[in-house]
Subunit: 478 residues, 2 copies
């Protein structure tokens, strides 16, 4: 329980601008991007690694629970307090002092609070970027802590692939600061402790600084909307594009008719690109390359049209239609899907991931199950099918019991039936606590908790999703 | 100490073909690819995961020390016994029952003992391959355990980037078998325990099965030998190729004159490609792409010549010369370097890794230091400069004290001066035990040992490079 003595001590550590107590000002820190608002005991905002260390050490010694928060753009309730009013929010938004770019090394070292947009703005004049493409503007620390993926994972991979070094503060009584690698691309001189903190969602400690590999921006982009014959044709089309376009293939995003209809209905400026009506399913395919067309060389648009043309003429008829046009217009449709859904009604959103060979079979089975057992919900799925990822969204009634039954039915089919993941790219947080307790193998939970305890030595009280507690949270430190 | 009772029990577990006792037959398991032969108490060769589990459980309960061994191609003395005659070798060479390829998923699941060459032979008819390019033919389990890199890391990354799932046997009294992910590309539903076993060099357990992502083979390849103006021009040339060629750039391998001279002198069939004499330093640059040239499109050879031509004419004059020719001939030179060195005299080999911006500065400083303090050694370095990696080889006298002083001087300059790694891609083993004890930060060693102990629960006796023991080994289980 936070007392006035604690507040005075925290203010001494951080100064007056390091604390947010005013209820109106606190709302932004208490309200997640999705799900319900929580109530924080207070917001603490350290501005340096030393201050993060001091705050964490103090909290551990005093038994205060804190929730680390980056840009608070996460979708798993991992960065906001619960309703108890007992948790501190440890905001890292003031941790922005470092943004160092090394163009020859093709790396950037940034404080945890620096936003993706700020990093990319700084990289742009050098022709570089961090190619993690998301529908939000998260902080680099949060991106590393949740191991974000995104729409160009197919080509560039996730944050884990880009993180070359971390500075972290451990949840122990000393607020121990650890530097885990110095930005080397190859380093097998120790075991990969750093990897625990990537995607660790704050369980092992708080990330305060990140070194990432960055890439050259492509100089040519081309995109098309593909209409597969049916859902089973999506994977063969992907394989054909992978074989034909190789590393030029940078996105292959599936979109269901229900999702596209809602986006087009909701965004007035968004034209319907499909002259023959919105198809049951479409795929946004994107090619990019590093260079501009050389003399006599086909433009990337022509290359894309050639590949699609061959597929249209092919006997197996996986491809029913293909639409070409400005790349930005295609992405505008893709990026409008989430917003269109939310505008159309209450959404139950699941962030599932499959072996990609299982995706179509699961979807077909799920559609049949939904038609029988949950006809009052509309499936509006879309996602990163090339990685086996799908944002499996269902729009329909808000009755809590019914939604819980629906969620249970989908998760059981996906995980028990196909060894899927209930968190493809959104990380861990209260929103998936029940799934973690239920579906993550018991042995993995036990070893994870034991490993987490190693980094909390001195506090002996980090909890990784304990199944027995009534209000646990993956990222809470107790 | 291994007794006849132990041998009888192991034979009961594995059958007669599961044990190798004959001294002559044991030599292959006791002799590392480099460094001195050890002496094993016995060789045990389980053929299934269940047998691995049974053997490990038995060893832990009986206090028998074992060293896991894959194809025994490692260069860090990580897979062979020491001279004590007390250690069992746990060979995984019979673990070859699984080799499943899923072309649509672009994944392969293989038993730990399957060789890279066998996997690639099975993938070849599908136009796929695992693009980890090495000078040896390791087993997949060993590749994952050491997180191998190789000559095409620049484009494809290391084993960590490819491992989508692992089956491991923990060093506890039960020989616990854990499955860590089922081949999903995206999975943040638990913390990344799997990552501890990749590059863990057997400290956390023994890998028995691996699921890897595989890639489409390129359809076009072009290569050139670049002669940079001097060592400081190498990095600007790399940056120019990265900007111009993007993901077509698949290798950028540095080679010193001393290394090239020895290869050309040693391999009679290897012609000297340099008409004007072997330069001080050369770079093998390789481009590949997924498709064959389309109509009107330049061949990849022409593209490479065009990029090199522009660099030759550029005012900054980083590129002094460029030689074109058959790709295989270029790689023959590159792959002959190690052999040429060893044929020319005793080699002190260091597998260093730097931030790539530091590589040339370090080399210049090291050359000056060697000229002053170690003029009797010749630097014959080569390596993966695009990743900051260098095989920093020194040919010269074998006097142990002098070699120890040389090693110490180079490591101190590299690690204290440039935060380098003493094991870029060769993993951990007895050969770098002293460097681990000395240079890996104390806190990282302590946390690593504590995390390792979690997986040995029940044995409470895994040792990760303990600084106090007289004959420790990173991968020994005690």
């Amino acid at each position: 329980m936070l007392s006035s003595r604690h507040l005075a001590a925290l203010e001494t550590l951080l100064g007056p601008s390091g604390l947010v107590l005013d209820p109106a000002a606190r709302a932004a820190y208490e309200t997640p991007a999705r799900y319900a608002k929580g109530v924080a005991a207070a917001i603490v905002r350290p501005a340096t690694t030393a201050e993060v260390s001091a705050v964490i050490g103090y909290c551990v010694r005093e038994g205060l629970v804190f929730v680390p928060q980056g840009a608070n753009t996460g979708l798993a309730e991992g960065s906001t307090p619960d309703a108890s009013g007992q948790h501190l929010v440890l905001s890292l938004e003031r941790l922005v002092d470092t943004l160092d770019i090394d163009t020859a090394d093709r790396t950037a070292t940034v404080s945890a609070g620096v936003r993706l947009s700020a990093l990319n703005a700084a990289l742009e004049p050098h022709g570089l970027f961090l190619p993690i493409d998301l529908g939000a503007d998260p902080s680099l620390g949060g991106m590393a802590a949740t191991n974000t993926g995104g729409a160009r994972f197919l080509r560039y991979g996730d944050m884990r692939r880009h993180v070359l070094g971390l500075e972290v503060v451990l949840p122990d009584a000393a607020g121990t600061v650890l530097t885990l690698s110095h930005g080397l691309r190859k380093d097998n001189a120790a075991i990969a402790l750093r990897q625990l903190f990537v995607g660790g969602c704050g369980v092992f400690g708080v990330i305060t600084k990140v070194t990432v590999e960055v890439h050259h921006r492509p100089r040519q982009t081309a995109a098309a909307l593909l209409v597969p014959r049916d859902i089973d044709a999506v994977l063969p089309l992907l394989c054909a594009f992978e074989a034909q376009a190789g590393t030029m293939l940078t996105a292959f995003e599936g979109m269901s008719r229900a999702a596209m209809e809602r986006a087009i209905a909701h965004v007035p400026s968004l034209p319907n690109p499909f002259a023959n009506g919105i198809p049951d399913y479409a795929v946004l395919v994107e090619l990019t390359r590093a260079w501009s067309p050389r003399e006599g060389e086909a433009s990337l648009d022509e290359t894309l049209q050639e590949i699609a043309g061959q597929l249209l003429e092919h006997d197996d008829a996986h491809l029913a239609d293909a639409l070409f046009g400005p790349t930005t217009r295609m992405w505008t449709l893709r990026h409008a899907l989430s917003e269109g859904l939310r505008a159309s009604g209450p959404v139950l959103g699941l962030d599932l991931s499959f072996r990609r060979r299982d995706l179509a079979r699961f979807r077909t089975e799920a559609v049949a199950m939904l038609a029988t057992d949950f006809p009052d919900y509309v499936l509006c799925d879309f996602g990163h099918v090339a990685d086996g990822g799908t944002h499996f969204n269902l729009v329909g009634p808000t009755d809590p019991d019914r939604r819980a039954a629906l969620r249970e039915a989908v998760l059981t089919l996906a995980i028990d039936g196909y060894a899927a993941s209930f968190s493809g790219e959104h990380g861990l947080g209260r929103a998936v606590q029940d799934a973690y307790d239920r579906f993550t193998p018991r042995a993995v939970q036990d070893y994870s908790a034991a490993v987490a305890a190693v980094f909390g030595r001195g506090s002996a009280s980090i909890r990784l999703a304990p199944a027995t507690s009534s209000t646990p949270s993956c990222q809470d430190f107790r």
